[in-house]
């Protein structure tokens, strides 16, 4: 997708003025948030399961090379083919080569964030292969020619009436010209249109929530069943997954599944959890004849050593988005790249560089809610802070801010001077507050005071008050 992370500020401003968008994201936070709370309350062991989940992924990441080799060996033993791709370009070429070898003209797709990451759809289109998204949300935004705005609810920013318009426009060529207004009718029409696509497709592409080293299985989790039709009807099934998705055993994946659905949609279990292992077997009446797994690195291996390594535990549940006050205010598109919200702020700088993604880790109040709800206990605020430091180190932070921080650091390291300055500032601000005790305009903080007044300090610094209080105690 187009890179627009550097335009975060403008995009956020536009989003904040969009009433319809505001409603959509308020709703998702509310619904998913409440559902998650209920699901967590319904499982007394939830927190201990999180600890187990973290331990599983930590163990995998510490032995990632060996697990990848084991996984590959199992896929191969079952008649599948593993393709290793270091870069998005390699992955795109590899997938196109598989599609061409299969003579594929139409490719159905299950939901895959990694496919967004490598920009797969425009590439396939440019090369004469028609990709058809089959997850209803992904299908809607494909018709609208937009990127997803949420990891698990990609079309959450679209209203029903916008979906009605899109279907009326794009389904006319299938002879469906009536404008539908009921959710059930819209879903039924999409079902009918996409059903034919599954049957026509020569190849199905799915992502993977997990890869299992023990069995060589790839695992997808859906509620619609689209991933299952995508992989059981066409002749070729290709799985696109990033390297950190591997887990050791069926027992381990069971633990991760328990925290995944609860954190994502508040379900105890998603409707369909599907384990796919190799192509169809001798005698099978259905299933694909070829099974390919494309393993993408795209720099994840370099994260392993660094201070942001813990993002590799992410299982893409979207809980951090649903609970983030910033994401819920500005929506997913403002972030300008594939992964929005707190997890995006923590990994996009790695993929895009700190200059392009500078604003994303800045767009946080560090309220810590994301870390609190993360099933994998990823310290998202700490990692965002790391990217802020990295931006400072690389001189990406604006000069004014850098100088201000330096000046403050210099002052803070000199306690006597600091107290003097604080006392002076407190008096000045108190005077500026006047009788109302409020300051309506502040230099360098016009954006902040545009929407509210700043309560003025009472005129004495914290140190003075503290000293007076301690004196009174004695």
């Amino acid at each position: 997708m187009d890179l627009a992370a550097h335009r975060f500020k403008e995009q956020a401003r536009t989003a904040l003025q969009d009433r319809v968008l505001q409603d959509s994201f308020a709703r998702i936070g509310g619904k998913f948030g409440e559902a998650r709370s209920r699901a967590v309350a319904g499982l007394p062991e939830f927190d201990r399961l999180r600890d187990d989940a973290v331990a599983i992924k930590t163990h995998v990441l510490a032995n990632l090379d060996v697990y990848l080799e084991r996984f590959e060996a199992q896929v191969t033993a079952r008649g599948g083919i593993v393709h290793w791709c270091a870069t998005p370009a390699e992955a795109r070429e590899c997938i196109l080569a598989v599609a061409r070898a299969a003579g594929a003209r139409t490719v159905t797709k299950g939901k895959s964030m990694v496919a967004e990451e490598i920009g797969l759809n425009p590439f396939l289109e440019a090369n004469g292969v028609e990709p058809v998204e089959t997850d209803l949300g992904e299908y809607i935004i494909q018709l609208a020619d937009e990127p997803p705005s949420h990891i698990i609810a990609p079309a959450v920013h679209k209203t029903k009436s916008q979906v009605s318009d899109l279907f009326q426009l794009h389904h006319a060529r299938y002879g469906k010209t009536r404008r539908l207004t009921e959710g059930g009718d819209l879903v039924a029409e999409a079902r009918e249109v996409l059903r034919q696509k599954y049957l026509d497709a020569d190849m199905g592409i799915t992502g993977a929530n997990f890869l299992i080293a023990e069995t060589g299985s790839t695992v997808i989790v859906t509620n619609e069943g689209n991933g299952d039709l995508t992989q059981s009807l066409p002749r070729v099934h290709l799985v696109l997954a990033s390297i950190e998705k591997v887990v050791p055993t069926l027992e381990d994946v069971s633990t991760l599944l328990r925290v995944l659905a609860r954190s994502a949609t508040g379900q105890e279990m998603s409707v369909y959890t599907t384990f796919s292992t190799g192509p169809k077997r001798a005698g099978d009446l259905d299933g694909p004849e070829e099974f390919h797994v494309v393993l993408l690195d795209n720099g994840r291996s370099q994260l392993l050593a660094g201070p942001a390594a813990e993002v590799l535990r992410c299982i893409r549940c979207g809980a951090c988005l649903n609970h983030c006050p910033v994401y819920r205010a500005v929506g997913g598109h403002a972030y300008g790249w594939v992964y929005p919200g707190p997890i995006g702020a923590a990994i996009d700088p790695h993929f895009l560089g700190v200059e392009e993604a500078y604003h994303l880790p800045q767009a946080s109040s560090f309220c810590g809610r994301c870390e609190e709800v993360c099933p994998m206990k990823i310290p998202l605020p700490k990692i965002m802070r790391h990217w802020r430091e990295e931006a400072f180190r690389q001189n990406v932070t604006p000069a004014m801010q850098r100088h201000a921080v330096r000046a403050w650091a210099w002052l803070a390291a000199r306690p006597r001077l600091y107290r003097l300055a604080a006392r002076a500032a407190a008096r000045m601000l108190a005077a500026a507050g006047g009788r109302r005790g409020r300051i309506a305009r502040l230099p360098f903080a016009g954006g902040w005071t545009a929407g509210r007044d700043m309560p003025a300090p009472e005129g004495r610094s914290f140190h003075d008050l503290w000293a007076a209080r301690q004196g009174a105690r004695k």
Binding site: L68, G137, R191, E224, S254, V271, D286, L304
Partner: protein, 233 residues
């Protein structure tokens, strides 16, 4: 892509500060974990006496919008016919060729038309056996084989699963143990390979992608009906 393979594995090892030739300690740790297949924490929820556990399975499946009919083996075909009639569905089903479904007295439900095969796009109803029911979440486990085509679980609008009460287990881990036993993974040589497809199914297909409104029957079955056979332990 063997160039990329070496490159990625090397980059991973560099990241783990484990460049160098072999990784004997990691190899051993991984081999041990894969052999042990140790269970992590399993929630206590479904650790119940058998009858209560089966009740929990039914309750959880219904909470996920499945319907559950607890029947006796001899009445199963009639129960199926009744279910179809109540919903104005045609008495014509695509049924998995699995011999596990053979013993039921299908002949008694004279009206019922049965085709033992994979699913075709126009099939309104499928009937399959379920390998296990998982009580903790009301989930069915099904796995593919020549006699159990996967398309039956997804193409028809109505999926009827036959589950023997004795196949209801407390937790997901218990179902994996059963599957490994069924495949004969005790002796590696004699073991059948892990199936092409294992489906965990919890309720009928659904979506909430349009304004978060829950709608059943997105791409897979609109209805999931479970015939729980009480007298088969």
């Amino acid at each position: 892509m063997s160039g990329a393979r070496a490159q990625i594995l090397q980059a991973v090892r560099r990241g783990l500060d484990a460049a160098g030739s072999g990784r004997p300690a990691a190899e051993a740790a991984v081999a041990e974990r894969l052999a042990a297949r140790a269970r992590n924490l399993v929630p206590a929820r479904a650790r119940l006496p058998v009858a209560a556990m089966r009740d929990l399975f039914a309750a959880k499946a219904m909470a996920a919008n499945a319907t559950v009919d607890r029947v006796l083996a001899a009445d199963l075909p009639d129960a199926l016919l009744r279910y179809l009639g109540d919903r104005n569905l045609p008495p014509s089903v695509a049924m998995s060729p699995d011999f596990a479904l053979d013993p039921y007295p299908w002949g008694r439900a004279g009206l019922l038309e049965i085709a033992r095969r994979r699913a075709e796009p126009a099939d309104p109803v499928s009937v399959t056996p379920a390998f296990a029911g998982i009580a903790e979440t009301g989930t069915l486990m099904l796995w593919s084989a020549a006699e159990r085509p996967t398309t039956l679980n997804f193409l028809p609008e109505t999926h009827v699963a036959v589950l023997r009460a004795g196949d209801v287990v407390p937790a997901l881990e218990d179902a994996w143990t059963r599957l490994r036993n069924a495949l004969g993974t005790g002796a590696a040589e004699a073991a059948r390979p892990f199936p092409r497809t294992v489906n965990l199914i919890t309720g009928p297909s659904r979506t909430a992608d349009i304004e978060q409104e829950l709608i059943l029957g997105a791409h897979g079955p609109r209805r999931l009906h479970i015939l729980l056979v009480e007298d088969e332990d």
